[in-house]
């Protein structure tokens, strides 16, 4: 009887472990599909099903939230030109347009590694000063949050 119970407990524990693990994997697949059904396997967007807004990640990668607890929203077209931003070093810029101009100046000054000459391809190797995240509070104020 102890053997039978032992077998049952062991089997139950192992089965539960496998079921939990498979659920996690299935959850991954479902979430990725449901979150990306407007992005085709070829990387193209389906304008008919694309959302108007996407979420924003905080510095640790978690979905950023507005003060009301709702998710921050950024337009599908990207960070608006007049929204304040921060680069990956933490430096603040008054707007995405100003940040973009900073990168252009860095290219012009030779501060960014740009490979390629006239009559060839041009490749720009950005630094942490050239990639930007939007101000969460500015987006919340402009677009509200997603509950």
């Amino acid at each position: 009887m102890r053997n039978v119970n032992g077998f049952s407990r062991r089997t139950l524990a192992l089965t539960a472990g496998v079921v939990l693990m498979l659920s996690a994997i299935a959850g991954t697949a479902v979430a990725q599909r449901s979150g990306s059904d407007w992005i085709g396997p070829d990387g193209r967007e389906n304008a008919a099903t694309a959302p108007d807004f996407l979420g924003v990640a905080d510095e640790s990668g978690r979905p950023a939230r507005c003060a009301d607890g709702g998710l921050v929203r950024v337009p599908l077209s990207g960070i608006p030109a007049d929204v304040p931003v921060f680069d990956a070093t933490g430096k603040a810029y008054p707007s995405m347009a100003a940040a973009q101009e900073s990168t252009n100046q860095r290219i012009a000054n030779g501060d960014i590694n740009v490979t390629g000459n006239t009559n060839s391809g041009q490749v720009v190797h950005l630094g942490a000063e050239d990639v930007f995240r939007p101000s969460v509070s500015a987006l919340c104020e402009r677009f509200g949050s997603e509950k």
């Binding site: 990725q32 979150g35 992005i39 990207g78 990168t103 000459n117 006239t118 490749v123 720009v124 950005l126």
Partner: protein, 170 residues
């Protein structure tokens, strides 16, 4: 009874190993990208590439490229098409989701940059020193590519794919 338990345990262990292999297969891809023509005008076309990979430090490499191409000897989009400075634009955006999926959230974006020389290509790349939006996450790239046709900007957004996701750090 014991052999029955052993058989059961062995079967469950096999399931576990198979499941972990599936998960590891997803996580260990080295370079994930999509590429192809995304716009056409006259005898020219816009070709784009969006990529996410490990990079030099294993912390993430994000790339968006835009090429101007043209028909050659009857072959569509077969050759490079040189465009004046300023006539090719590219923007690099990268996004993240958590380890078990979830919504796609913007991590960082470059500005929309323009070519500064006579060229057929403007590619923007960012080789990260740390996973830019945290570790143990999936990342994907979205590139905006545009070429000036003389009357309008032609091009589109292109993602590194679905399931074009890459796990970082490597």
């Amino acid at each position: 009874m014991r052999s029955s338990i052993r058989r059961g345990t062995a079967t469950l262990s096999l399931c576990f190993v198979l499941a972990m292999s599936m998960l590891a297969g997803t996580a260990s891809a080295h370079v994930v990208y999509q590429s192809g023509n995304t716009g056409w005008f006259g005898n020219k076309c816009v070709w784009q590439k969006s990529e996410v990979s490990h990079g030099s430090s294993g912390k993430g490499y994000f790339l968006a490229g835009t090429h101007a191409k043209e028909d050659v000897a009857g072959f569509s989009c077969a050759g490079n098409s040189f465009m004046a400075a300023g006539n090719i634009k590219t923007q690099l955006q990268f996004y993240t989701t958590d380890q078990f999926g979830g919504s796609t959230a913007l991590c960082y974006s470059s500005g929309l940059l323009a070519s500064t020389i006579l060229s057929y290509e403007l590619t923007i790349a960012y080789d990260a020193n740390i996973p830019p939006c945290g570790s143990l996450r999936y990342y994907r790239t979205r590139g905006l590519g545009q070429v000036w046709s003389g009357t309008a900007w032609v091009g589109s957004y292109l993602w590194s794919g679905t399931p074009g996701v890459h796990f970082l750090p490597a």
